[in-house]
Symmetry: C2
Subunit: 90 residues, 2 copies
């Protein structure tokens, strides 16, 4: 597995107007049990075959820190995707 996922989300204290817009649209769908929605970015970094996991994590963290996330308003998480993420639901 040579793929690393970087998830970038707004910090909890930051207002999420996109998420609010989705919440406001939910009653039309009858999805009453959803309390809140937060929307962020998912970035998949594909590394060349054989790259060491430690190197992948370090490079992904540096790329996220410098290019992908705005540290003032966003947090990011670097992780290896699990099997359930491989196949799209639809």
């Amino acid at each position: 597995m040579t793929r690393v996922v970087v998830d970038v989300m707004l910090k909890p204290e930051i207002l999420d107007p996109q998420g609010e817009a989705v919440v406001n649209a939910l009653p039309r769908l009858g999805a009453g049990q959803v309390a809140s929605v937060r929307i962020g970015k998912r970035i998949e970094l594909e590394f060349t075959e054989g790259t060491d996991e430690k190197v992948m994590r370090e490079q992904a963290t540096e790329i996220a820190d410098k290019l992908l996330a705005n540290p003032v308003i966003e947090d990011f998480t670097v992780r290896l995707p699990d099997a359930s993420e491989a196949e799209p639901t639809a």
Copy 2:
């Protein structure tokens, strides 16, 4: 756990200009082992306490299908986040 994550990514055959822009910026960071970058959306749906997991998955799939993903150019995956996603890396 009452949170469900919906990952929305462009279909593989669709060009990803945002991802290309990141790839082009990587040499400046010295991140030579990254072969490709794909950028999509991560949506966290927080359900009210005690909602049954099956109901959460069904509602999240319907919301993704109708509101969050464009079926012509995007695929989506519905899943429960694993422990590594709870704590931001930075």
